[in-house]
Amino acid sequence: MEKFTTVTGIAAPLRRSNVDTDQIIPAQFLKRVTKTGFEDALFYGWRQDPDFILNQQPYLGARVLVAGPDFGTGSSREHAVWALRDFGFSVVVSPRFGDIFRGNSGKQGLLTAQVPEEDVERIWRAIEQQPGVEMTVDLVERQLSIGELRLAFEIDDYTRWRLLEGLDDIALTLRNEEAITAFESRRAAWRPTTLPAR
C-alpha cells in the first residue's frame, strides 16, 4: 500500500444519505475475479441518469467524495472500495460510515474522513458555490481545507498510522506468529474443524 499523507483534488458533493454498497456497485459487477477495472461500475444505477453528479464536469476528475450520513452500509463487498478507488477517489467524507466499508477502505488506502453533519452541509455549500473547487485533505493534521473552510476530521489512530506508513496488515500480524501458534496449542478439542468432512 502506498503511503498516504496529503491529497488535493476536486471534491464532488453527493447529497444523499444511506448510500449502501449495493448502490456504490451493484451485484452484477461482483462476478469478476480481478481487483481492478471497476471504474465503470461505480454507482452504475445512478449513472444511467445524465443529471447524476458524477456524470457532470468537473466531477469526472474528482478525488474527494462528500456524502450524507451512513455511507457504505449493507453488503461487505470490498468491490465498493475498489470501484471508488478506480474512479479516482482517494477520500470519502461523511458524518457516519458503515463499519465494514470503513474497515475495507483502510486496507485499500481509501481515507474515510468523518465530520459532523453540519460540516458536511458547509462543504456541500462551498462546492456548490464554486463547482470544481479543490479540497486538501491532510491526514497528518487530520484537517480538510476547502476555500475558506478549515475543518477537523476524525479517523481512528490505528488506521491513520497504517495509512501514513502504508503498512500491510498481514505482515504486521505475522510478527505475532509465536503468539498465534501458542494460542492454537490451547484450543479445545470440541471447537469446530471442517476436516475431515463428517
Binding site: 444511506n18 481487483k35 461487505s76 496488515d169 479445545a188 469446530p192
Partner: protein, 482 residues
C-alpha cells in the same frame, strides 16, 4: 488437548456480557496504546464472490492458507436454481464458480459445489453441519455472517482484504465492539414472527443505530424462539448497522446442535456444554446501550422504502415524508416513495405485488418453509403473481420434500427451486424486471437489489404466503373466508 486453558492475559473478574466473554477467550494479543486486539478465528466460511482476489493475494505473496481445517467453502451467490445439472449459462458466473473450484483444489479447502448434498447458502450450511457452535468466532466475506450469532458465537462479515488476512493468519486485528442489549419481552401474537421482531428493531434504531456495536438479543420473546427464528433475527443485525448480533446459548441451542455431523460427541460434548453454559451475560454486567421492544404489541411488519429501516406495521399506511423531522430522513423518504412508486397515505394492504420471493439466508430454513406452506396449503396463488420458493440448502430441500412441502408449493402454483441466494440479490438469473414489485422474505430492499428497477417489500414467510394468495400485501389474518 481437552480444555481451553485461560489465555495468558489478565482475566477480568467484573461481570461481563456474552460478547465480552467470547472476545476475551479469543485474544491472541491484547492491543496496547490504541492498537487493535488480535482475535483468533475458529471458523472461516468462504463463497465464490468475495474470495477470488483473496486467494490471488496469497498466491502473489507466496503465503499458504494457514488452517484449511478451519475453512469451508460453498457455492451460493451465482448458482442457478433451475437446471443445475447443466453448465452455468452466464459466462462470468461460470468463471467465478470455476475460479473457486480451482482455488479450493490448489489450497486444499473443503468445497461443497452445486449438486453436492451439502451445498447451499453459506449461512444455512454452517449451522446445519454443526460447525457453528456457541462461544466460537466465525467470519465470512459476507455481511450476513451475523446469522451465526444465534448460537452465541461472535460472527461477523468481513471484506476481501480481511478474507485474505484470515486465510494467511487465522486471526484479525480488531477493536472491541461496544455492546447493545435488545430486550424483547412478552409473547408474540399469532401470525407475528422473528422477522417482524427484527424489522421492528431496525425501524426503531435505524440503519445506523447499531454501528460499532454487537447486539445481544435478550428477553422472554427471544428465549421462546427456535434456532431458525434466532438466526433470522441475528441475520439482519447488519441491517441495523451492527456487524454482529448474538443470543446466549441455552437448551434450545444444545438440542439443535446435538447429533449434527460436526457437533462434539462423548466427553467433548459434555465439556463443551459445561463451557457454553458459562457464556450467558453475567448478572450485573452493563451494556453501552439498551433498547426495549414490547413483543405483545408487535404486528406483522413490512418495509415501504429503500432501506430496511423504512418499515411499519402492515396495517399502517405509507408514511408521508413530512412525518420525518430529520432533513436527511425526509429527503430519503421522498426519494424512496418515488423509487417505490408509492403515494403517502395509501394503506399498505392495498399495494399489489407482481412477485413473491420466499428464500434467502434470512428465511429459507425448514421452519420458514413449513410456515409458508401452512398458509398456502390447499390454495391457489393469485393470478398474475409469480411466486418463487428457494430453499436455503440442498439438505433443506430434501427435508421439505420428505415432508411433502414441495407438493403443497407446486400445487399452489409456485416455483420450487434448488438452493442458493437467488433473488435476494439477483446475481444469478433470478431477478425482478424493472418496475416489478415483490414481497420478499430476504433482507435488503435497496434500490435495484433484486434486479435493476425492481421494488422490494421485506416481509415474513407468513406475510409472503398471504400476499401470494391475495395478490396484495397481506397477513394471514386477512385470509378469513378465502
Amino acid at each position: 488437548m481437552s480444555t481451553d486453558s485461560t489465555p495468558s492475559i489478565d482475566t477480568p473478574s467484573a461481570p461481563r456480557t456474552l460478547a465480552e466473554k467470547v472476545w476475551d477467550d479469543h485474544l491472541v494479543v491484547k492491543g496496547e496504546d490504541g492498537n487493535p486486539d488480535l482475535i483468533y478465528i475458529d471458523l472461516h466460511l468462504v463463497h465464490e464472490v468475495t474470495s477470488p482476489q483473496a486467494f490471488d493475494g496469497l498466491r502473489v505473496a507466496g503465503r499458504p492458507l494457514r488452517r484449511v481445517d478451519l475453512t469451508i467453502a460453498t457455492e451460493d451467490h451465482n448458482t442457478p436454481t433451475i437446471g443445475i445439472d447443466r453448465p452455468i449459462a452466464d459466462l462470468t458466473s461460470r468463471t467465478q464458480i470455476n475460479t473457486l473450484r480451482a482455488n479450493a483444489e490448489e489450497f486444499g479447502v473443503r468445497l461443497h459445489s452445486l449438486g453436492d448434498i451439502e451445498q447451499g447458502i453459506v449461512h444455512v450450511v454452517g449451522p446445519q453441519l454443526g460447525l457453528t457452535m456457541p462461544g466460537i468466532t466465525v467470519v465470512c466475506g459476507d455481511s450476513h455472517t451475523s446469522t451465526h450469532g444465534a448460537f452465541g458465537a461472535m460472527a461477523f462479515g468481513i471484506g476481501t482484504s480481511e478474507v485474505e488476512h484470515v486465510m494467511a493468519t487465522q486471526t484479525l486485528p480488531l477493536k472491541p465492539f461496544k455492546t447493545m442489549a435488545i430486550n424483547v419481552e412478552g409473547t408474540l401474537r399469532e401470525g407475528v414472527t422473528a422477522k417482524d421482531i427484527i424489522l421492528a428493531v431496525i425501524a426503531k434504531i435505524g440503519t445506523g443505530g447499531g454501528q460499532g456495536y454487537v447486539l445481544e438479543y435478550r428477553g422472554s420473546a427471544i428465549r421462546a424462539l427456535s434456532m431458525d427464528g434466532r438466526m433470522t433475527i441475528c441475520n439482519m443485525s447488519i441491517e441495523a448497522g451492527a456487524r454482529a448480533g448474538m443470543v446466549a446459548p441455552d437448551q434450545t441451542t444444545f438440542d439443535y446442535l446435538q447429533g449434527r455431523p460436526h457437533a462434539p460427541t462423548g466427553a467433548d460434548w459434555d465439556e463443551a456444554v459445561a463451557y457454553w453454559t458459562t457464556l450467558a451475560t453475567d448478572e450485573g454486567a452493563s451494556f453501552d446501550a439498551e433498547v426495549f421492544i414490547d413483543a405483545d404489541e408487535l404486528e406483522p411488519f413490512v418495509t415501504w422504502g429503500t432501506n430496511p429501516g423504512q418499515g411499519v406495521s402492515l396495517s399502517d399506511v405509507v408514511p408521508s415524508p413530512e412525518q420525518f423531522d430529520d432533513p436527511n430522513e425526509r429527503a430519503a423518504a421522498e426519494r424512496a416513495l418515488q423509487y417505490m412508486d408509492l403515494t403517502a397515505g395509501t394503506p399498505l394492504k392495498e399495494v399489489p405485488v407482481d412477485a413473491v420471493f420466499m428464500g434467502s439466508c434470512t428465511n429459507s430454513r425448514i421452519e420458514d418453509l413449513r410456515a409458508f406452506a401452512s398458509i398456502i396449503d390447499g390454495k391457489k396463488k393469485a393470478d398474475g403473481v409469480r411466486v418463487m420458493v428457494v430453499p436455503g440448502s440442498a439438505r433443506v430441500r430434501i427435508e421439505a420434500e420428505a415432508e411433502g412441502l414441495d407438493k403443497i408449493i407446486t400445487d399452489f402454483g409456485a416455483e420450487w427451486r434448488f438452493a442458493g441466494c437467488s433473488m435476494c440479490l439477483g446475481m444469478n438469473p433470478d431477478q425482478l424486471a424493472p418496475g416489478e414489485r415483490c414481497a420478499s422474505t430476504s433482507n435488503r430492499n435497496f434500490e435495484g437489489r433484486q434486479g435493476k428497477g425492481g421494488r422490494t417489500h421485506l416481509v415474513s414467510p407468513l406475510v409472503a404466503a398471504a400476499t401470494a394468495i391475495r395478490g396484495t400485501l397481506s397477513s394471514p389474518s386477512d385470509l378469513n373466508g378465502k
